[in-house]
Amino acid sequence: MLEIRELCVAYGGVSALNAISLTVNAGDFVSIVGPNGAGKTTLFKSISGSVPVRSGHITFEGRDLIAIPAHERPHLGIAHVPEGRQVFPNLTVEENLEMGAYTETGRRDWKSNLAFILNLFPILDERRRQLAGTLSGGQQQMVAIARGLASSPKLLMLDEPSMGLAPAVADSIFEAIVEIRKARNLTVLLVEQRAVEALESCDRGYVIETGRVVLEGEQNELLSDERVRKAYLGM
């Protein structure tokens, strides 16, 4: 479904991604782990088009993504839930979800999506008319994920959904993600610093350091890799 080949991105001469290649098949749950600043967020941003690509290819369902302007990519079925949540703080929860449903498919499926979302996160139903900026961190993360779902995406990209959340809250978010994937049969691409949780939920994973893929494999291969265990799992 998503194919990345030899992708390079640089900020002002400093290289952020260095010939990264990865593949996401339809229906897969793929996790990407790595230390802070390894280039995970940059990878996501280059998929959704908010950073310029220096060289390499990104194809989505056979189409060359790089040639498509960033604001048209969500209309192809890519939902990006950004790092740090980035809800629209001065819009109400419902307006946030409406913006999530800005795409054609999102408007078409609005009623059923809304029902699914409010069932998944009942708290958001209570807070519908509240400004999103006044919600707690965990609730904002729910809004951000729900906003991504509201577009009826084929590919859901989640960037550090646990960031800044207490472990218990983060756990419930991970559970919700697994539930969403089951219920909607989505393809999920997850970036996480919490390597344990990320690798446990996924089918396949990649380890990224300083803008390169240093390791890739099936879930159990990664979880049993001695170096991964030492560097990321704290063993």
Binding site: P35, N36, L165, A166, V196, R212
Partner: protein, 590 residues
């Protein structure tokens, strides 16, 4: 600075330029061209004045007409009411400009960014109305027929050009002196990141006030001279927005942040607009403004920092491109190495003591009643989830924030209430989450910025900077341009900048972020070496594995409160810490 030409070299350039200027003055055919040459010098000086404040420090002023106009009226009214010769009036106008600069600067420097620019816009416009109301709609400088030379009145226009040249030379020298000393370094650091500059021990407010005083003095003096040239002064001619804009435009067009920028800008734009005004002024009355407006628009779109830098970048581009392609060292997952325990590390005498420290923003309690002691030579790791108050704690330790309550005792002195520069002077250095190097400067110059705080003269500062580079193992990179450094080198450079101030305590905020595991090991080795030389380190870090190998002692924050402290091994088994920070899966796996 930016260019490494020395002060003497610039004297040479200045001598050549002056000679060319004088030659032009004596060969141009008539008064009209002489006047134009005089105006070129006047606006070059005005551009330099703007550049001294806004170009070097990054605080954009739209209000330089205020100083210019006050200078013009000082000379005009001095001559009219007190028979004061412009020979005395000019220095006086400079003084008035300097005082006005300080009066304007004192309140206005509290503002940042857009607000500063907007507030500056208001001063000359307010003065414009005040001078109209005072009845000075039109002040003519009276002619003195008995002794014209004593009143700066000459029939030969070339003499005015020579005076203008002298003023220009003075302005260039002053500006160049700023560029080549710690004054310029301080302003550049402010431009890049004012908070980081303050944390590096630079007394930002003092330097900004000095800059605006000098800038105001130059503008006032040249405004006074402008009055002499024009003979008639009106509020609209000296306080108008076009005056402020013209100062900004010549500097911006020629090149911002370098003394040669305004000179280049004035030499191109003034003859252009004057000629158009003379040729087309009757049919197209606003042509000057249109030319200047178009010049700004084009410069912003095509060469946002001015012609000087555009050309310079074109010349140096090939050089830089070669470097940026340099790939980081091949990375692979590296064995994380063994935990290192230093049983005696926590036995030193207490160098820093935090007592009951709290900070609230509005209703939010960012840090609540945190107390701990730091022994000399220890490495204290501060851990906790995002938003736990770790960075806020650092901000209170180095003086960015004044605590709502509590004390920070360093070597027996309470640091609460000190400016960050004061804290730095006493020996607490820090690095930041987001490194912001001065991209155009060399690594050595970047480090030098941090060295001035403990150095009385430039030579000592330079020595401290080199020593700091040696400490982090970057002596060989001293002359490289900072812009293209890979992230590990950028981090080490920032560490060196903090070390150049000879700190006793270092506050390191996520210095390992963005590094690969082998690079993390290299930085850890450097940090270990520092602790052996007796420096105490407080470090915020998310990479637990690195922290376990580096810290002698952990302090855990959660929701602003101290959740626990102790030996890293013990902390990792503390159920409270696991619950709040590490997560239940950590426990399951561990």
């Amino acid at each position: 600075m930016g260019s490494r030409t020395t002060f003497m070299q610039s004297l040479g350039i200045l001598a050549v330029l002056s000679a060319v200027y004088l030659l032009l003055v004596f060969i141009v055919p008539n008064q009209y061209y002489q006047l134009m040459l005089t105006l070129v010098a006047i606006w070059a000086v005005m551009g330099i004045s703007w550049n001294v404040l806004s170009g070097y420090s990054g605080l954009v002023s739209f209000g330089h007409a205020a100083f210019f106009g006050l200078g013009a009226y000082t000379v005009a009214l001095g001559l009219l009411h007190f028979n004061l010769s412009p020979w005395i009036g000019l220095p006086l106008a400079g003084l008035v400009g300097a005082v006005a600069g300080i009066i304007v600067g004192l309140p206005t420097f509290r503002l940042r960014g857009h607000y500063f620019a907007l507030a500056m816009l208001a001063y000359p416009l307010a003065l414009l109305y005040v001078f109209e109301w005072l009845g000075y709609q039109e002040v003519a400088l009276p002619m003195n027929r008995e002794n014209p030379a004593a009143y700066m009145q000459f029939s030969d226009g070339r003499i005015y050009s020579v005076i203008a040249l002298v003023l220009l030379v003075i302005a260039v020298l002053v500006s160049r002196w700023i560029e080549t000393t710690r004054f310029g370094m301080a302003l550049l650091a402010i431009k890049q990141n004012e908070l980081a500059a303050e944390a590096a021990g630079i007394e930002t407010r003092k330097w900004k006030l000095r800059a605006i005083a000098i800038s105001g003095a130059i503008a006032g003096a040249i405004g006074g001279f402008y009055a002499v040239i024009l003979i008639v002064v009106t509020p609209a001619s000296v306080f108008s927005m076009l005056t402020s804009a013209q100062a900004l435009i010549v500097a911006l067009f020629g090149g911002i942040g370098t003394v040669w920028g305004p000179v280049i800008g004035a030499a191109i734009l003034i003859p252009l607009s004057e000629t158009l005004h003379a040729e087309l002024g009757n049919i197209l009355p606003g042509i000057q403004g249109v030319v200047f407006g178009t010049a700004i628009v084009l410069v912003i779109l095509l060469a946002p920092e001015g012609i000087f830098w555009k050309i310079r970048d074109l010349i140096t581009r090939s050089d830089r491109d070669g470097r940026s392609g340099e790939a980081p060292v091949a990375t692979a997952l590296v064995d994380a190495g063994e935990l290192l325990e230093r049983p005696e590390a926590m036995a030193g005498k207490t160098v820093l003591e935090v007592k009951g420290l709290s900070k609230s923003f509005g209703g939010l309690k960012a840090v609540q009643d945190v107390s701990f002691k730091v022994p000399e030579g220890a490495v204290i790791g501060i851990i906790g989830p995002n938003g736990a108050g770790k960075t806020t704690l650092f901000n209170m330790l180095n003086g960015f924030h004044t605590p709502s309550s509590g004390e920070v005792i360093f070597e027996g002195e309470n640091l609460v209430g000190l400016q960050p520069s004061g804290v730095c002077k006493r020996g607490i250095g820090r690095t930041f989450q987001v490194a912001r190097p001065f991209a155009r400067l060399s690594v050595l110059d970047n480090v030098l910025v941090g060295a001035y705080v403990r150095a009385d003269d430039d030579a000592t500062a330079l020595r401290h900077a080199r020593e700091a580079l040696a400490l982090v193992g970057m002596e060989k990179d001293a002359e490289r341009t900072a812009g293209g450094l890979p992230s590990k080198e950028q981090r080490l450079m920032e560490l060196a900048r903090a070390l150049a101030g000879k700190p006793k305590i270092l506050l390191l905020d996520e210095i390992l972020a963005g590094l690969g595991s082998s690079e993390i090991n290299e930085v850890i080795v450097v940090l270990r070496k520092l602790t052996e030389s007796g420096i105490t380190i407080l470090i915020i870090e998310h990479t637990m594995q690195a922290m376990l190998r580096l810290a002698d002692h952990f302090i855990v924050l959660d929701h602003g409160a101290l959740l626990g402290e102790g030996k890293p091994r013990n902390i990792m088994r503390d159920p409270k810490v696991i619950e709040a920070y590490l997560g239940r899966r950590w426990r399951e796996r561990a």
